[in-house]
């Protein structure tokens, strides 16, 4: 498995600013914690046999981007999402250093805010997917991300925190793309179910495709007749 590693240009800018303002120690601590955090995600993903496309180091966090099916079990998604923060917490507890502890808390706070594509968003989306449809979970999570994103953008502007402002802008730009791809993602979600035979243990009867949930196999109630999701999806994708 070839995993590419990238440092975002904004990270270089923040490193330069940190260097010329004398925040060497803080920067090293930040970067160390971010890398440990991403190692947590990566190791768990490898154990669960997920395909990792790349790791991106952002100024105040990191991203592990997967090339995986959308219909992966929710529990696997959750384990991978929480292992990053957990790894970081264990590492800091092991180090027993006040500065590491303080900066780890900052990174945890930033990372667990539910804004796409941070871990907080993933965990929130997973929680929504437990109770509501894939499509609805995705759109609600995005709207919450937008709300929080603009709130943080506004507050960082008022507090004159330039780097964090730029960082939130970066997240909002990624969010914009995710919203644009909302329908496409839903099509991908359905298409995977058409292509592959997932072995879902739970079953649900729904009235339309938009109500499909992760981890469930569906029957559609059409004119009081139950049709399997496979048959419906065959009709949808073979027609197109």
């Amino acid at each position: 498995m070839k995993i590419s590693f990238k440092i975002h240009p904004l990270t270089y800018l923040s490193l330069l600013i940190a260097f010329i303002t004398g925040y060497f120690k803080e920067t090293i601590i930040f970067m160390t914690i971010i890398i440990i955090h991403e190692i947590g995600h990566v190791l768990t993903a490898i154990l669960l046999k997920w395909h990792i496309e790349k790791i991106v180091i952002l100024p105040f966090g990191g991203l592990t981007i997967f090339n995986e099916l959308l219909n992966k079990p929710l529990i696997e998604e959750l384990i991978i999402a929480i292992m990053g923060p957990l790894f970081q917490i264990i590492f800091v507890a092991f180090i027993k250093n006040d500065l590491f502890f303080s900066y780890s808390n900052i990174i945890l706070f930033i990372n667990l805010i539910p804004i796409y594509p941070l871990d907080g968003y993933k965990i929130l989306n997973i929680a929504f997917n437990k109770f509501i449809s894939f499509k609805k979970s995705h759109i609600i999570s995005i709207y919450i991300s937008y709300f929080l994103g603009f709130f943080l953008l506004f507050s960082s502007f008022l507090k004159k925190e330039l780097l964090y402002f730029i960082f939130i802008l970066l997240l909002i730009s990624k969010l914009k793309n995710e919203l644009k791809n909302h329908e496409l993602l839903f099509i991908k979600f359905l298409y995977e179910r058409y292509l592959y035979d997932f072995k879902f243990k739970k079953v649900k009867i729904v009235s339309k495709l938009e109500k499909f949930k992760k981890d469930y196999y569906h029957y559609l109630n059409i004119n009081n007749k139950l049709v399997t999701e496979k048959e419906i999806l065959k009709g949808k994708f073979l027609k197109s």
Partner: protein
């Protein structure tokens, strides 16, 4: 690659030009990069480079001033007979040097517009590149504290600072 190029260009310039060598000595080796000045200008315009840093409350060990019973000029600095062996920082800044100078344990704090050198320390309570507040503990002396106030290699009048 860029670092190697800069290094080679500098070495070649040294060999070929005496003027460049002198300029380099004055402006690069003798002058110090004032991180604290840049940090304070940056923070006044763009906030702290580390977000939410203000939420980290550093517990001060103590918040004091240097109290001394006598002061004498010593070389280009001043020798104080301190009342308390525990030495606080005169101002806010960044620790840019910890080590020996003239066989004495010294630390240098880069403050805004001045570098303060604290010598004759028997114990140092800070680490290199620590950011310290005014009045925070930096080290311990036996009875005497030697201070120097410099800016770009030139000694300044101590009365402006203490």
């Amino acid at each position: 690659m860029i670092t190697i190029i800069i290094f080679l260009v500098t070495i070649i310039s040294f060999k070929s030009s005496e003027d460049f060598k002198n300029w380099f000595q004055v402006h690069v080796l003798n002058n110090s990069f004032s991180f604290t000045n840049i940090a304070s200008k940056y923070e006044s315009l763009f906030g702290n480079p580390i977000p939410f840093k203000s939420f980290i409350k550093e517990k001060p060990v103590f918040s004091e001033k240097i109290n001394y019973s006598s002061l004498t000029q010593y070389n280009n600095g001043i020798l104080l007979n301190v009342d308390n062996n525990l030495i606080p920082s005169i101002g806010e800044g960044l620790i840019i040097f910890i080590g020996k100078k003239d066989n004495q344990n010294c630390i240098i704090v880069d403050q805004k517009d001045v570098e303060v050198t604290y010598c004759m320390l028997k114990h140092i309570g800070v680490k290199l590149y620590d950011h310290i507040e005014a009045g925070s503990y930096i080290g311990e002396v036996d009875q005497k504290l030697l201070l120097y106030f410099t800016k770009n290699g030139e000694y300044l009048n101590y009365e402006d600072f203490i």
